[in-house]
């Protein structure tokens, strides 16, 4: 079984530095990789979840999108 990684901290980081709809913006940017993994995330679902566990390639894609949109480096 693939190791899963929590992307919730990345979204929290992005919300601290990005615009109000940063979560939706990240989801738009990462849509192809989400679809490839048959994952349909929403901002509301992410907000309501304590942990959002995903495969490594989604984690990496979300991290890159968040850093690109905020122009900051995610240290977590």
């Amino acid at each position: 079984m693939d190791t899963l990684y929590d992307i919730k901290p990345i979204f929290e980081f992005a919300k601290a530095y990005g615009d109000v709809k940063i979560v939706d913006r990240i989801l738009i940017k990462t849509l192809p990789i989400l679809l490839k993994n048959k994952l349909e995330l929403s901002a509301a679902a992410i907000d309501e979840s304590a942990v959002v566990s995903v495969p490594a390639e989604i984690y990496q894609s979300v991290k890159v999108a968040a850093e690109d949109l905020t122009n900051k480096t995610f240290a977590g």
């Binding site: 939706d24 738009i28 940017k29 849509l31």
Partner: protein, 409 residues
């Protein structure tokens, strides 16, 4: 040569048409946000429809405006229109049968992108690319399908000028079939139901004609830059984006796109309406009639009904919940002209605008003169308050008689 006063405002439908094209105002917050949303989805080849949407609308309009004019007069007409509508300045003297290489340092899109965002990695003035392609097609009798148009330098990327190249070729943007004429939904309107509505609407009637480009070709009013833009350009851009998202991810794609399209309208409503509500014109012409926060919203609706976005009204209104309507809203009329009917509401900009208005009046202290003008201030305010939810319940393109939207905490 071009004079906006030659075109009568349709008071029955709160609508303005210039040479066959419905015209609306949009602010830089809305347009930059919209463009960024579309470009962020970099797996969608959006350039062809962004340029094509502009080229189609401008071609239709300039074909009418330049009818009977010679080459020199037509160039002057196109330059005048570009400046009057607030897109900046262009000099078409170098355009001939072979096309044009054109530079300008006055571009609404490139200038305002830099106000909102970091530098762009690629040129973003797609509108002017389409505009110039349309000018070339109209003046030299070309088909849009046989024009190669591109922007090679852009101030939004850090260049000192914008550079555009227009040539005959195989065509490098999308062209569209002829669209239908505007059909208004003729139904009785529920009025705003506020004793001062007619006074304010009458006082600001015709004021839209004052919003014309200055010596730099920009329209800066109410603390924002605005353009008078072809409704079908901007709406086709958002509809084509949603279509691409739908093809890629079905309903999920539409929902994701809709959230951000609505956010563009939200930012527009918040900043532009905020600018209006802190303007001298508001102070003198509207504020004397305002007692409650609800009056502020009704006063704003009474004023903006003179701007060509349809007839805005409100059925229920409190801090907790509101139901807004728009009769003959510009997004639905546009959708019907170009695509016919829709399975779901498509009036994201209007609905986001209503939400921005609620946010502005109930979640800031604007009624006491507090003004939030910065992106940071906007973001902090949104994060510190409980946000409004927005549900688009009815749309003319869905077969309803009007646009309706519910906004609640």
């Amino acid at each position: 040569m071009f004079d906006i006063n030659d075109y009568a405002f349709d008071e029955d439908h709160n609508f303005l048409e210039v040479a066959g094209e419905a015209m609306i105002f949009h602010c830089h917050h809305y347009l930059a946000n919209l463009l960024k949303t579309i470009l962020d989805a970099d797996y969608i080849d959006s350039r062809p429809f962004l340029v094509g949407s502009a080229a189609d609308a401008v071609y239709n309009q300039l074909s009418c405006l330049c009818d009977g004019l010679d080459e020199t007069e037509s160039k002057k007409m196109a330059e005048d229109v570009y400046k009057c509508f607030g897109y900046g300045l262009i000099n078409l003297s170098g355009m001939d049968e072979n096309g044009v290489d054109l530079t300008t340092s006055k571009s609404f899109f490139s200038k305002t992108w830099q106000i909102k965002f970091e530098k762009s990695a690629k040129p973003i003035d797609y509108y002017t690319v389409g505009f110039l392609a349309a000018v070339y097609a109209v003046i030299y009798g070309k088909s849009l399908a046989e024009i190669d148009a591109e922007q090679t330098r852009c101030m939004a990327c850090g260049d000192d000028l914008n550079h555009f190249s227009i040539r005959s070729g195989k065509g490098n943007f999308t062209t569209y079939p002829k669209k239908a004429a505007t059909v208004f939904k003729e139904v009785p309107k529920v009025k705003i139901g506020w004793e001062h509505e007619d006074t304010i609407t009458k006082a600001f009637g015709g004021a839209h004609a004052n919003f014309v480009g200055n010596e730099e070709g920009f329209i800066q009013v109410f603390g924002v830059y605005i353009v008078r833009i072809q409704s079908d350009f901007v709406n086709r851009a958002q509809f084509e984006f949603v279509k691409a998202m739908s093809e890629m991810a079905g309903e999920y794609g539409v929902t994701l796109a809709g959230e951000l399209l609505m956010e563009s309208g939200h930012a527009c409503g918040f900043f532009t309406y905020g600018g209006i509500m802190t303007s001298r014109e508001w102070e003198a012409g509207v504020k004397p009639y305002l007692q409650t926060k609800e009056d502020w919203i009704k006063g704003l609706l009474s004023l903006i009904n003179t701007m060509g976005w349809g007839y805005h009204t409100v059925l229920e209104l409190s801090e907790e919940r509101a139901v807004f309507r728009n009769y003959n809203d510009f997004e639905d009329l546009s959708y019907i002209r170009m695509y016919g009917t829709s399975d779901y509401p498509i009036h994201w900009a209007n609905s986001g605008g209503f939400t921005g208005l609620m946010q502005l009046v109930y979640n800031t202290d604007i009624v006491h003169g507090e003004k939030i003008e910065t992106e940071e201030g906007f973001r902090n305010m949104r994060r510190s308050k409980v946000g409004y939810k927005t549900v688009m319940t009815k749309g003319i393109s869905c077969g309803d008689d009007f646009l309706e939207v519910e906004i609640y905490l």
